[in-house]
Each structure stands twice: as C-alpha cells, then as structure tokens.
Amino acid sequence: MRDAAVLGWAQTEHRRRAVGETPQSMVFEVVTRALASCEMTIRDIDVVIDAGSDLLDGRSTSNRAVIDAMGAHFKEEIKVAGDGLEAAIYALMRVTSGYSSTALVVAYGKSSETPARCQTLALSDPFYLRPLAVDALAAGALQARFYLHEYGLGSDAPALVAVKNREAGARNPYAQEKSPVTLEEVMASPELISPIRRLEACPVTDGACAVVIADRQTSRAASVRPAWISGTGHGADPYSPGARTLYRTESAARSARKAYAAAGISDPLSELGVLEVSEYYSYQELMLYEALGLCGEGEAADLLASGATGTGGGTVVNPSGGVLCANPLVATGLVRLAEAAAQVSGRAGEVQVDGVDRALAHSSGGLAMQFSSVMVLEG
C-alpha cells in the first residue's frame, strides 16, 4: 500500500512551561515550519484535521480559537477529540478516498495552564470511579502492578525503560528532559503512586506538532523524500478498566495486527527498524512490546534487557526519548508519527537510526491505554 505519505512535519521545543506562548502561537509556529519542511504553502492544503482538548484550553469547541493559526479559515476543517495520531488517521482517509489531495494535521496541548489532574480525573466515570479518585495515574498504577504480578517481574524491570529513554532523549533537541538517568536514580526517585516512581512518569509539557499528509500523486511529485504510510489500525477497549484484562492492551494488539496485515509485516521485530510508542509511564513500553508483537507475552523485560530496543539495537524503540522525555498532551502521538516519518526518510537529524526502512508510530489515550492507534511508515 503506497497510497499516501507523510511529506512534512514540525514540533515545538517541548518545555514545562512555554512562557510567552499561547496555543495559537505554538500552532502557527509548527504549521509554518511543517509546510516549509515539504516546500508547501498553506494554499497547497485541501483540508485541516486537528486535535485539541477543550478541558486543557478551558474553551468549548476549542478548535474555533485556533482556526486562524492553522490557516484553516476558508478550508474544510474537522476536529478530532483524541490524540493527534487519530487526526492523522482521519487525514489518511481523506487523501486515500480521493476526497482531498493534501491534509494538514495539527495537535497541541498547553498543560501548564491548568492542573493536569483535572483533565485526567475527568476521564473517569463520575459514579463508579471518580469517588475513588481514579485518574490516569491511579489507573496506570493498577495496570502496572497487575502486569508486573502477572509475569512475576520486579519493579526494576520498567525502571530500565526510563534509563533507556532518557539516554536517547539527551540527543533530541526537541525533548524536554535532556539529561540521562541511572537505574539507581530511577529506583530512588519518589513513588508517585505505587509502583510508579517520579522518573517513570511522563513530564507535564507545553508543545505542539503539525504533519502534512498527501495522496500518492502529490507525494510522488514532491520535492522531499516521502515517508509512505503502508498500514494503519485503530481500536479501543472497554471504558471500565475493570472490564478489561488489564495486564494486556488488546486495543494496541488489534491495531497493530491490522496495520501489519496491510503493510505485509509478519515479524515486526526483524522488519521494523524503529518504533515510536506512547509510554506515559515506563511499564507501558513493556506492555506495548508484547501488544505490538515484538515478543511474546511476559517476554518484554527480557527483550529490553537484551538491548535489542535500545541505542545500537536492531529494533530501536523511542530513539526520540519517547513520552518520558516530553508529553505535549494531545500532540504526544502525533509527535511519534513525525519522529517515525523522519526516521524512514533519513531526516531525523541527531536521533537518526541508520538504515531504517520501516518504522511504526503508536498513540494511546484514555485510562490505562483504552484507545490505541498505529501507523506503519516506509521509506
């Protein structure tokens, strides 16, 4: 499948607090830079698909406020309520259906403007979960302990994810966390909620990302090397965490199977050079190795310890440093797409992995990874 490609992208230099910036100024910056990265202007764009959060912005139908900054007035524009990678899937449908030739995907999150906890607690059911104060962190902790217990793993297993990703993030000019950490430092960092420690949780981040997706004809004629989209999948698990087999992420597994079938991938560990996954907490990266088919159930800790997914390994996971190094909420998954596209087209700069033919981008959303999206890219 070579019906569409990612041609251009840009992300902000992610920060804890983007002083002097508004959502609009961050969006305008990434949109202009993304267009320039593929030698386009806003006049070349047919449709704009965006992702933002009404709760983060403190505005209802928040896309109304960023229309001008996206160059979307007088164009078709649709907001997706979810991660930016879901907006990219919508854009893909637009260009592969022939309805549009080019689509601009925009996602942004300025978490510094409001307590992030208000956002993630509002994810949970007001009758059954909110009285228990089960927000994203608490749901993650329940899932983390379930996973570790199911496979008899110690709490140092996920801590190694933080060591690996912080080592990689130190090379990424866009990362928020740019200093490596040792296993001892991770293990000694305070427990936010057992078993998740401070250095095993994503930071709070202000940031934005924009991506240009085009149909086959436009991509073939482009002046830049396209990152072809060869497969995609999206799925969801039940709303109630108690109704799931919480130590597995079925939605990610189903999304990956669908994407791999389209891309003709049968052995992801040998066929993917890079994966950019959304690990909001360290244990999630381990669960995702299994869901995305890099190893069997319960084998992720061994795969990580083998070094196969680290710098210099055969299947590098999160060479950007991943979400543990920057979490521009809502744009987090779209950043994974930008990084994966950069890897397969040889434009990843300081974080480039040699010889990447295929890469995968993954996003998740909801409590304990309820939603998953996957995209496979080829050079």
């Binding site: 002097g20 009758f127 228990l132 104060a133």
Partner: protein
Amino acid sequence: MPGKSGIQSGGSQGVGVEGELSIPYRHAAGRHAERFSREMRDNRRIMGVRCSRCEAVLLPPRPYCGFCFEPATEWVEVADEGELVTFTSVQGDPDAAVFEEPRIRALIMLDGAGVHFPHVLGEVAPDDVSEGMRVKAVWSEDRNGTLSDIKYFRPI
C-alpha cells in the same frame, strides 16, 4: 462561569490572565446505577447484570455487554466478597474526594462476577496487601445510595 479576568504580570510565568471555569453538573446515574444504588442502600446487595450471550456478569451494571454487543437484562446478585486482583496505594493524595481514608485502590473479582469491581481496601497496611487475597465488603451503617455505602473491603 462567569470566569474571572484581569491581566497579571507573572514573573517567570510571563504575563497571564487568571481564568476559572467552574461548571456544575448533575450527572444522571441512569436506571442501572439507580437500581445498583438502591440495592446497596436498602439490602446491602451488590447487583450486576448477565449478558444474554456470553453470560458474563457485568459490574457496574449496564444495559448491554460491550464484548458481545448484546442486551444484558437479567439482574444477578454477586457476593460482597471475592479475590483481590490488583491494587495501588496513594500517599498524600490531595484530591481523593469521598474516600479520604483508606488510600488503597483495588480491583476485586467478586464471587459470581465476570469483571473486576473497583473499590478501596481498609483495615490493612499497604505492605500487607497481596494479589489473590480474599477480601470482604465492610458496609456503612449510614447508607445513602452512593459508592461509599461500602466503606471499604477488608481482608478475611
């Protein structure tokens, strides 16, 4: 609403405008949660619904089985005790609204249920909790039809 406003020069945070959306809601519990609440309040019973296809007993009760996309119409009582599936303890959580103490959140497989029930644990220190332990509901004497009609689950 309405929001406050007024430009503030904010030092390291830059110039900003204070805003606050305080939006009251009155969420409808829905007829399933209504019956669930009433049974807890009046009869100290935990009620689920059985899927007409896969026969799983679902908690919290809902009109459908999301796995089968079939109606779940048969009400079934599940035990107020079961097995601890997973848990997490919270230190100094400022936002725990109803359950100030205890601070151990848990997923529990109640006897007779097909999915895990989220609640809290009590009468036990976090270090003494382990997966697979049997736990039982401690009912409040002062029940009002909310989730806190069960004060917590304790080890048995």
